[in-house]
């Protein structure tokens, strides 16, 4: 993060079960709506954050309810910053096979990262790969969902 002035910040920690993740996700989306972000952009953030949280719960923490997921969100007038951290061993995002490759097309998993990168302005993995930060620049891109 830079020395950006944030209007709203949230830091939540929850066990690795999707119900708890949903409440955090909805809090972020509700805040974006309250601040008048376009529904199309909210849709893209929804999809990206959903993917990141599910990845942390399922792949990072192995759905172990003893392990925690941390989500941080910082919101400015024209920018959203998100961070999702799990307690897992991490991974190398560069080593994830491209799901668009014809050889991988019928593999059921591996598309979450692709969608995150498409709908967010920036996605970066840090440390051992168990921490992801995402940014969304307001007014740029979006998924077009109603």
């Amino acid at each position: 993060m830079t020395d950006q002035v944030w209007q709203w910040e949230m830091h939540q920690r929850f066990p690795s079960e999707t119900g708890a993740g949903r409440r955090v996700l909805n809090e972020v989306l509700d805040r974006l709506r309250a601040d008048g972000w376009a529904e199309q952009e909210i849709c893209g953030v929804h999809l990206a954050l959903e993917e990141a949280i599910v990845n942390a719960i399922r792949h990072g923490n192995g759905s172990d309810p003893e392990k925690q997921v941390c989500v941080a969100c910082c919101l400015a007038v024209d920018r959203l910053w998100l961070e999702v951290i799990d307690e897992g061993p991490g991974f190398n995002p560069q080593a994830v096979p491209d799901p668009r490759d014809p050889e991988n097309l019928d593999i059921p998993s591996g598309r979450g990262l692709l969608l995150m990168r498409h709908f967010m302005s920036r996605v970066e993995y840090h440390d051992r790969g168990n921490r992801v930060t995402m940014e969304k620049q307001r007014g740029v891109g979006g998924c077009g969902c109603p």
């Binding site: 999707t18 119900g19 949903r22 849709c43 929804h46 999809l47 959903e50 993917e51 599910v54 719960i57 399922r58 799901p99 668009r100 014809p102 097309l105 019928d106 593999i107 059921p108 998993s109 598309r111 979450g112 692709l114 969608l115 498409h118 998924c143 077009g144 969902c145 109603p146």
Partner: protein, 117 residues
Amino acid sequence: MSVHRRLEVSEVGDVTVVRFVDRKILDEANIQELGQELFQLVEKEGRTRLLLNFATVDFLSSAALGKLITLDKKVKAKAGTLKLSNIRPEIYEVFMITNLNKLFDIKDDEADALAAF
């Protein structure tokens, strides 16, 4: 006949038409249930000519795409046919980003899809 919570199932001739109860297919638990219901159509009910109508779907996560891919495999394993229809442009974008528009047979609407069986 199985009870479906996530799907609305009907028949047009020998084609099973499936519509979705959830407008946003993203909740992990719901997606697991959705997957099971779809797979049961093929594996337990022996339905091998399937049309998935996405007219009511606003949102689709990668986990849901995964269930569709697995369903496609199960249908093909039984020499069946799976088609998708009524996919909104916003959702079709997700299929295009992931190149799944090349895996699935996607038609504009239900009538076109049924005619193509």
